[in-house]
């Protein structure tokens, strides 16, 4: 594997593909690139947050049913705005790839939906600022986060009337995984989180002492007057929690097919480091096996990975925010709207007949919508793909074109840059398609279109 391939792999897993501007500096080593990614990750720019004037409960109650419906509609739109703001931030030239990638991973892990945009913003900030920190801090912050407290009904978790929803998901999905706790553990954990409320107006965490069950609890074989943080500490004491988290991280960042020995090695490291996420990620990216060919191009891009990488290559600008949301919906992943608390299943689950066709036709659609026209020699007009009217975009491929224009366009070099699973373009349809175009520049467009339409382009 040459250096450029390694860099591409690193940037696909720690971000959304190697920026083509980095191609000029192809002699950067992976070590340098990793340092750069982690350095950038220290400087986090907030996602622009849509403004929302929270009405007080009394104000809201006074509204007519119609006005309430209107208010809710506005709120839904604001969450949609936050969604596109975040995606556009991932796409932007000065994006922070590693921070966004980690946040995207944690957003799937702590899958949550919120009707309140201010709560959603707060949660996103937790994921973006703490996604490379200590897992304990992250999980405690999430347990105290208004969006999650509302989503998993901890607001209804009261002394003598416990609601187990949060406690169950904490164990089952967020930390240790199914089969490593008892039903009694769930009950006892729920008691420990009683009174962990959020202020409905401000979203601030509020510990309501009167609603908290101070009594003795027996949890995972330990007895004490535990509160929520004690429960989290006991869970993190279990080695299995490191195994569970590392398994998920390995599947997401390395390979959907597990390597048991690697997972064990990583789990040991993670556990010993006191669940230091940043250290774990750095270790993975610096390991030689990370760049093994079995791991390269082994992942089906998630819709957001696909969309962001795609938009970056074409230097796409979205004229309407709706375009960002609409594409996610059509591809089967809408941020801030996970299918359920278990998050997106991912992998082959992204693909059905409709989503695959859309992915493969996406380049043609985007070229058409962005008016990247191609001139043909002596060819009759023919049918067109009339769909996706809602996708309003512009694109610019001038810079990309410059990079690959030497004496003549190098289609193989372009394919090697765009695909993680190599193909030989020599004598393929891509060259054949391009021969009907009138100019050298148009040939390039066809190379680009052909390569970005391949099933191989769906992988990273």
């Amino acid at each position: 594997m040459n250096n450029q391939q390694k860099l591409q792999h690193l940037y696909w897993r720690a971000g959304f593909g190697l920026p083509y501007t980095a191609l000029r500096k192809a002699n950067t080593t992976t070590e340098q690139a990793i340092q750069q990614l982690f350095r950038t990750a220290k400087k986090i720019k907030a996602v622009p947050s849509p403004k929302y004037d929270v009405p007080s409960k009394a104000q809201f109650e006074r509204l007519s049913p119609k006005a309430k419906q209107e208010k809710n509609k506005v709120l839904r739109q604001l969450v949609a705005d936050l969604n596109s703001n975040w995606v556009l931030q991932m796409v932007s030239e000065d994006s922070n790839p590693l921070v966004e990638k980690m946040a995207l991973f944690w957003h799937g892990h702590f899958a949550c939906e919120s009707k309140r945009v201010d709560f959603a913003v707060n949660q996103l900030n937790i994921l973006r600022t703490q996604g490379l920190g200590k897992f304990r801090d992250l999980v405690v912050a999430i347990a105290k986060d208004a969006a999650m407290i509302m989503y998993l009904n901890n607001q209804q978790n009261r002394k003598n009337k416990p609601n187990e929803n949060f406690a169950r998901e904490l164990l089952e999905l967020f930390t240790i995984g199914r089969g490593h706790y008892t039903e009694q553990d769930v009950k006892e954990a729920a008691r420990a989180f009683t009174g962990w409320f959020a202020n409905r107006f401000t979203g601030e965490f509020e510990f309501k002492e009167r609603q908290h069950d101070v009594g003795e609890k027996v949890f995972m074989g330990k007895t004490g007057y535990f509160d929520g943080e004690d429960i989290i500490d006991i869970i993190l004491d279990q080695k299995q929690t490191a195994v569970y988290l590392v398994t998920k991280i390995y599947r997401y960042f390395v390979n959907p097919t597990l390597d048991a020995n690697r997972v064990e090695e990583l789990a040991n490291l993670f556990y010993k480091s006191n669940y230091d996420i940043g250290k774990l990620m750095q270790f993975i990216f610096e390991s030689e096996w990370f760049y093994a060919s079995a791991n390269v191009g082994a992942k089906i891009k998630s819709p957001v990975e696909f969309l962001v990488g795609f938009a970056k290559v074409l230097n796409m600008k979205f004229s309407k925010k709706e375009s960002v949301l609409f594409t996610q919906r059509a591809l089967g992943q809408v941020l801030f709207h996970p299918p359920n608390v278990a998050g997106w299943k991912g992998g082959e689950n992204w693909i059905d007949n409709a989503t695959l066709m859309l992915r493969m036709n996406m380049a043609a659609i985007a070229f058409e919508r962005a008016e990247l026209n191609i001139q043909f020699q002596d060819q009759p007009e023919q049918k067109t793909i009339k769909q996706f009217k809602k996708l309003e975009v512009t694109a610019s491929i001038d810079q990309l074109q410059k990079l690959f224009r030497k004496e003549k366009y190098e289609v193989q070099a372009l394919a090697d840059f765009l695909l993680q699973n190599s193909i030989a373009t020599d004598g393929t349809f891509i060259e054949e398609l391009a021969q009907y175009t009138a100019t050298a520049d148009d040939k390039f467009k066809f190379y680009l279109l052909g390569i970005m339409s391949l099933p191989e382009y769906q992988m990273c």
Binding site: P65, L356, N361, D378, K383, F429, Y436, S453
Partner: protein, 400 residues
């Protein structure tokens, strides 16, 4: 001479694609050997009413004072109700159901729901679509798992839409999303996709992309097949305008045209009637009744009605009492209709809803919706319902 192609016509013929001919090797066409084909020729059409339909204003307890007291402005006038039994009648907009009832071609199940009901649209719809318990999260749908078990083709279950619902997502396979055979055929038959197909067979590809190429091959061959079948029978039946009428027409043409799809899934939305319910629901029910009538007549005329079962559901019913804005809020139990030329036990399966003993102002459930799924799977599709639902549910005695 150069020909300037404007944005209206982007993909032009390249000389490469020989239209219509496909390059699908047979080994890829064999969708999967692990599935056991079913003997059943029977078709299932599922109609999903999204938004939470107010069942109490569809099947109306027109002699119950409690109903009229709870709904001073939106109750259906007892004089306008189409009476079916001594205590239950139909919303007049559902006039076609009256015909089905008289002909013994509908079974109405009252009070359908599940334990610990959830009042969120999304969550409750997931529960219905995956057939899970209220506190359980499944990532495959009940019909998706049916596809897993029996699909012989990629289009074994079709959703008449551009995207696929959770209901049709299996663990290893999926249903097929398609809103229009011609459009589908166009997206798979454009020069680029055709060229990629051809490319695939002249070049080795990495093992890691095999799944995608296989899905591509399956999609292209299904799109081709469905397009052909959709041309076989062009109905003369008059279907009402609107999305539902179009979808029903599409389903009829495919069934009558001999398409080997077994399950069709149709979504009809707009039932979330918090405000000024009457007008909104009237419009929806009328559209539904007319579209259903056209479909059933079409199937009947062509001899397919006895082999077709239509099932209707919504993610929840609505509160018994109306709210302050002539509407209703999210509730619990609801009614489900099963319709076919071959209903064994037609009419009402169980008694009218109990308006005295409510659960937080909502109808209590009496029949778990999964008992109905089990009935459909076992008695209609003749498969092992337990392996698809993941746990045993009795089928409703003798309906199908």
């Amino acid at each position: 001479m150069k020909n300037n192609i404007n944005r209206r016509s982007f993909l032009t013929r390249t000389g490469l694609a020989t239209a219509g001919s496909l390059f699908v090797p047979n080994f890829l066409k064999a969708f999967d050997q692990q599935s056991t084909p079913l003997n059943s020729e029977r078709k299932l059409i599922v109609i999903q009413w999204s938004g939470g339909n107010d069942g109490l204003n569809c099947i109306v307890p027109y002699k119950n004072n409690l109903y009229y007291e709870a709904r001073p402005t939106i109750a259906i006038d007892s004089k306008k109700v189409l009476p079916l039994t001594d205590d239950l009648g139909l919303n007049p907009k559902l006039s076609f159901l009256r015909k089905l009832y008289d002909q013994g071609e509908i079974s109405i199940v009252n009070n359908v729901g599940y334990p610990d009901p959830d009042r969120s649209h999304f969550r409750s719809m997931d529960i219905w679509q995956t057939a899970s318990n209220a506190d359980e999260f499944l990532s495959s749908g009940w019909l998706g798992r049916f596809v897993d078990a029996h699909a012989a083709t990629n289009h074994y279950a079709i959703e008449l839409d551009d995207t696929l619902s959770l209901a049709l997502k299996g663990d290893t396979k999926s249903g097929f999303a398609m809103s229009n055979p011609r459009q589908l055929h166009q997206t798979t038959n454009n020069e680029l996709i055709q060229a990629i197909q051809k490319h695939h067979h002249s070049h080795e590809h990495d093992e890691k992309v095999a799944y995608l190429y296989q899905t591509l091959s399956n999609t292209v061959s299904s799109a081709d097949y469905i397009f052909e079948k959709s041309k076989t029978y062009k109905t003369k039946q008059n279907y009402p305008k609107g999305a539902l009428g179009k979808q029903m027409k599409q389903v009829a043409e495919l069934i009558i045209g001999g398409c080997d799809t077994q399950v069709y899934y149709v979504n009809f939305s707009g039932f979330d009637t918090h405000v000024n319910q009457t007008n909104k629901q009237d419009r929806l029910l009328e559209e539904y009744s007319n579209a259903l009538e056209a479909l059933v007549n079409d199937l009947k005329k062509n001899g397919f009605w006895d082999d077709t079962l239509i099932m209707n559901f919504s993610e929840f019913g609505r509160r018994v009492a109306e709210n302050g804005s002539r509407g209703t809020d999210h509730g619990q139990a609801n009614n489900v209709y099963l319709m076919s030329g071959k209903i064994k036990k037609a009419g009402f399966y169980n008694t009218a809803p109990d308006l005295v003993n409510l659960s937080k102002g909502d109808l209590k459930y009496e029949v778990d919706f999964r008992n109905i799924y089990a009935t459909v799977l076992q008695d209609w599709l003749q498969t092992n319902d337990q392996s698809i639902l993941g746990r045993p549910f009795d089928s409703l005695n003798g309906i199908l």
